[in-house]
Amino acid sequence: MDSRLLTDRMSRHVFFVLTFLVCLVMVILAVVLWIKSLPVVQATSLRDVLFTSDWNPEEGKFGLLPYMAGTVFVTALAMLLAAPMSILVAVYLSEYAPGWVRVAILPVMDVLSGIPSIVYGVVGVLVVVPAVGKFSDMLGLYSSGYSLLAGGIVLAVMVSPFIISVGREVLSTVPAGLRDASLSLGATKWQTVKFVVLRRARAGMVAAVMLGFSRAFGETIAVLMVVGNVAQIPKSLFDPAYPLPALLANKYGEMMSVPLYDSALLFSAFVLLAVVLLFNAMARLAMKMISN
């Protein structure tokens, strides 16, 4: 056979196998984490691990509730801060902003989304934590500043460029004809945005926020540095919290001699993976449906 054709045939098979293997990595990742976390689930029960707050590895107690609560609260707070702001910026950039503003802002978004999370963490420690501490003093609450609020703010700044860029992408799929039709019927620019553009892009915007949520949910280092890491269910914005990824980062790799400890930590990794995959899958499917 011609050597050119042979190369082509061979590469076709090799490339297919590679593609298949990469897909397999995702499956292996999930399966391995599940197998590794089975011992703790079998030794106690799924309900005990997920819904009790007694965390004491030496005595074999692995209640992840405070950590789950920490993750959920800090992520929810971040989304509460980031989502409205990001949607406003996305709408501004795609509907209102003059050309020069767009040209000036897009690199800013690129740079913001490229900054490593450790740098966000350092800035959080230097700026956000003292500010939150001062603010709580003014309210008479005397928090150290290492708190749910500090974590939420840092996380909000981290995910907003991401939500903005997905949001802009969604808004750009709204056909220009719809806008023209609305404007030609005598609607103002804002009415067009509110009743036509955002209505059409609603599902996509929800998907953008969900993607931001799943991004924020697994963020580790920056949050760990400012959130205080006290294993409790936070009662106010100024209480410290202890999210799941921080638990994993602080404890995994050490104290492997305690039975089931390793398994409990990998279970927390599995929970992270499951939640993030669920949200990602839902958001992606929603976006696919819109674009069709």
Binding site: V22, G186, A249, L265, V276
Partner: protein, 310 residues
């Protein structure tokens, strides 16, 4: 949507018809609320945009200001001495570049065949590429700490120690979906006519991929590679368990390596002010590298666009 359209579109018309009965004040009010709402939201939009931009300025300002205070020539040319009190962070700088470079090379070796398979070997919108894109989207969303834990499991299963090699594997898993998604985006945009022209000249799929499509998409591919490199070099969580911090410069794949994010993380965690100062310097160097990579990627994209058919 149509009914809503009719509702508000009818509004101004109605006011014209009944305008004679309405007092001038009322007419003015209606127009005012419409304008007012728009004005408020426009102000909020501009405010939000300003907040985002000022966040960037604060971050860069704080990092560069604090970092350059403690930055010196010794910092970038020497290894740490006497318990991280003296000397520099050369170990972390070199370690970061090795981990980032190695992981990017590994991820490129996996993602290039993948992207070619999805876009040249099978039809772009057929089932296999669609499934692949979905899987890549999912992989892209996996938190880096999970890749770190997974890397640690692989490492301990194969009896490896925390080392440069293990860190490269963990980071390449993180970089792979970033690279594939960005490359795929570029290749889908490549005009199908170029591919057809290549086939009609008798070229095989392999030749079309590597001699025609590669050249056409080179600027985008270069950007994708550099973007993944920037992401890989700055990631902390994936290398936390796998790199095994050390104060010497790694000499082989099996020797433990320090990276800049780890240097920041560990040195900031100490109670000593002078060690913390070094963390700020490391953060400034890391930020500088990431910014430089993003600027270089723009320049490279421009420089390689010579062969692109438009």
């Amino acid at each position: 949507m149509r009914s809503r359209l009719r509702n508000y579109a009818a509004q101004p018309a109605r006011s014209v018809m009944t305008g004679k009965q309405e007092s001038g004040v009322m007419k003015l009010k209606r127009i005012d609320t419409r304008k007012l709402e728009e004005g408020i939201f426009k102000a909020l939009m501009i405010l939000s945009t300003c907040v985002v931009v000022s966040a960037l300025l604060v971050i860069l300002g704080v990092i560069l200001f604090r970092g350059f205070n403690s930055l010196s020539i010794e910092m970038v040319t020497a290894r740490p001495r006497s318990g991280y009190r003296e000397g520099g962070i050369l170990n972390a700088i070199v370690g970061s570049l090795l981990v980032g470079g190695g992981a990017t090379a590994l991820a490129l070796a996996m993602s290039l065949p993948l992207v070619f398979y999805m876009n040249v070997y099978v039809r772009r919108e057929s089932l296999t590429p669609r499934v692949m894109r979905f899987v890549m989207d999912l992989m892209w969303g996996v938190p880096s700490i999970v890749y770190g834990a997974f890397g640690f499991i692989i490492m301990s299963t194969f009896g490896m120690r925390a080392s440069l090699g293990a860190a490269i594997i963990a980071v390449s898993l993180l970089e792979l979906p970033i690279m594939v998604r960005a490359m795929d985006e570029v290749m889908r945009m490549a005009p199908i006519e170029i591919e057809e022209a290549s086939y009609s000249m008798g070229a095989t799929g392999f030749e079309t991929a590597f001699k025609v499509i590669l050249r056409q998409t080179l600027p985008g591919l270069a950007t994708a590679v550099l973007m993944a490199f920037g992401r890989g070099i700055g990631d902390t969580a994936a290398v936390l368990f796998t790199a095994g911090f050390s104060d010497s410069v790694p000499t082989s794949l099996s020797s433990p390596a320090a990276t800049l994010p780890l240097a920041v993380f560990f040195q900031l965690g100490t109670p000593f002010m002078d060690v913390q100062e070094r963390a700020y310097a490391a953060a400034a160097i890391l930020t500088f590298i990431v910014l430089a990579v993003s600027i270089v990627s723009r320049l490279v994209a421009r420089a390689t666009s010579r062969h692109v058919v438009r």
